[in-house]
Amino acid sequence: MSTRAFLFTAAISVFLFSTRIFATDDAEKTARQALATAILAPEADQAALVEKLAATPHPALGPTLEGWQREQVFVFTDEDGQRIPFLKVEETSTVRLLRVDNGQPLVNKAGSPISFDPSLKAVETYSKLRRAIKSTTDLLALGDESPSVRQNAVLKLGLKQSPATLPVLEARLENEPDQRVKETIWDSIALVNLNSPNPELKVAALQRLGQSASVPAKDAITRIASDSTQTPETLQAAKVALKSIDKHIFWVDFFGTIFRGVSLGSVLLVVALGLAITFGLMGVINMAHGEIMIVGGYATFVVQCVFGTGLAFAPFGISMNIPGFGFDPASAIYQSYFLVALPIAFLSAAAAGFLLEKSVIQFLYRRPLESLLATWGASLVMQQLFRLTFGPANVPVASPAWITGSFSVEGVLMNYNRVFVIVFAGLIVVGTSLLLSKTPLGLLIRAVMQDRTMAACMGVPTRKVNTLTFAFGSGLAGLAGAFLSQIGNIGPSTGQTYIVDAFMVVVLGGVGNLIGTVISALGIGTLDQILQTTLRNPVIGKVLVLVGIILFLQWKPSGIFSTKSRNLEEGN
């Protein structure tokens, strides 16, 4: 242990000056050469040499050390019999061989790159060596540029609960610029102090961990709380700390569930909004709504392919080919494909809706029940057309880098794509309500919604309004499809999975009222998530939501917000 402690302190002596201490090339060179030496050394010395690397740590060593653990480090013997260790880096289409000692590609005397010889055996590791590599990589992370990596590294050290790490942590504390990392360092020091023989230090550490509600420390504190040899003060402090941590965990879970519920509700909202508009306006339940939504999803897929390498497909045995621009997937212009896809998804779904209205629905305005059946027939046809065009499997739609990943607020994990969906659902609702309340088209739509016959008498072209509204509602469905492509997969029958839920939203929300749709979508989404997390069973949760809806309709038979009407056939 004492050599470890020495090494940790030595490592910290380098950290003392700034966070970016490894700027010089010399440091990298020295570190790399030390690592190369360690790899070539006899097995017995390797572990010690690797531990020594901690004295001159450099982030450039990270990939090689990790590669060594994963058996991707090999030794190449050149024409002169010199042994050169190298790292094999597998990329999507190529394999690169990088020298450990200088990070350059492996070349022969003539300077041309050497291809990988599959008969080579990776440099072996054994458990002691792997431990050494791991503790060295942990230390490397302590000096990383990114605060979150540093935070993780600090926490890892703290969880070892070894007094040897104290000097390292304290040294790190002194020149740590980031407040959040500092807090974590305090937590880690407290974690280490939990094992201290001094009861006062122990109680102070427990208080600290209780205050900061450190979730990772929960196990260690639970151990103390159940250890009867501890002093009564310690036990009391441990209990208080545990309570505070449990409370924190409860709230984090609670808000996490609410967040997921709201994001699920937002998806439902975007899916159901178009349905609610067409149903509210025309009394038409469009069973093909899910398929129109998927038109938007496939439009997104096609735009993505056009930005990339193009797309070949063969509907009805006719092979077709859409050429692509061939942008590099990492480039900013490829990443922005989604912004182009949104309007295209809207327009293509609106066009599909327009066709459906003109070919089927316009004949059935007086027979809503039968329009439900006819649109189901249309949905079957559309599903099969998708299958014939894009194949029966789901198509892969890659999310742009700017909506992948997550961030955390007070421990609650937020995915960017979910946040994006919530924000966009808000925008769509606001946009739709503005369209309905502020534009001439909106005026006509509302007039037809309230009293079709009277509107027609006043000269409102009701047929045109129907077609436009239906196309608009379908366009909204297309946008929903574009979002779904970012959250899940798009396949011929994806629409079916959302359609029943979307119907529930419309039935619960009441007809002709955006607020009702918003509340019922968010309500169903949140309730679904809460039930799922508390019951740990998604199906029972779904069934209970359905039962809840049926019971709710006993109380308010026409939904949360129903337009008051004296018409017997409409209101109750």
Binding site: Q384, L388, F503, I550
Partner: protein, 371 residues
Amino acid sequence: MNSRISKRELGFGLAAALFLLAVIPGLNAFTPETSPFHVSDFSINLWGQYLCLSIVAVSIDLLWGYTGLISLGQMLFFSLGGYALGMHLMLKIGKLGQYKNDLPDFMVFLGYPTLPTHWEPFANFWFSAFAVLWVPAVVAAIFGYLAFRSRIRGVYFSILTQALTYAACLLFFRNELTMGGNNGFTDFKTLLGHQLANPATQRGLYIASALALIIVYALCRWLTLTKFGKVQRAVRDSENRVLFSGYAAANYKLFVFVLAAIISGVAGALYVPQAGIINPSQMEPSKSLEAIVWVAVGGRGTLLGPILGAVGVNALKSWATQAIPAYWPILLGGLFVIVVLFAPKGIVGIAEQIGSLFKRQTKHSKEVSRE
């Protein structure tokens, strides 16, 4: 509508019943296989299944054609009936299963130590047969009571029934329900001691299905002639007027809904030993919608239409899923759209439609000639 059955109809009905009950099974049993009149064992089995589906179609028509309720979950009751008898069939497999265990195979596979308590009574055939009736009835009664009490009508009712079958489908897919999860029940061996693989047993099941269809048809025909049937149709045409005349429309609807559920349950119970399998995919919302297609194609509001539709569409399906599998959904969907748009009365109605078109023309020409 006549309040009496005409002699012609009675004669026609008896002839059809005789044909279904005696001629077809007779041709199967007593003609040599080489004879051109021979009905193969395969056909008997297939027609038995078609007849079961026809029973479901009649129950849908009772709801849709006569009461104006579109239930998008009728196959749920069909499946419940099928599962109820399926449980009995599973227990009768005994040690003949793959694991040579008294427990059904899926229970051995999932590691059940003993038979769950609620399975035990299903070892008795009569208990199972009774469950075929009451399980769908209870589910329909609870759902129907809640739905009709709060006056959920029209598309709202349809959507809720769809959600009901969807929820049940999700439930039955779970292994926790002890109903075999997504594999459901299969590999049945015997029914009342008769080998299911035996052609004679299959012939018996065919006759039972035909008999059930004839009884259901007669029952529905009788019901539509009674005062009850008149109120039923009045509810379809104008529910509010029925309410104002002092009838509790909700009770009438509830009764019809429960009756239709029981009829479907019986159909399911007869179907399962003939098809040899029951699994949750039968409860998928699309299956119930497909059943609506049979009725729409055959012609709703007539009791003969749904039978013709169910047999016709399923025969078409058997052919198309073999010959042009990729185009079958398009064919089915397209057929449905066209029927709904252009032939709301279905096959049975087409003759009438053409007739009335002809009548109108002749009337019109008469009027013209008079002028």
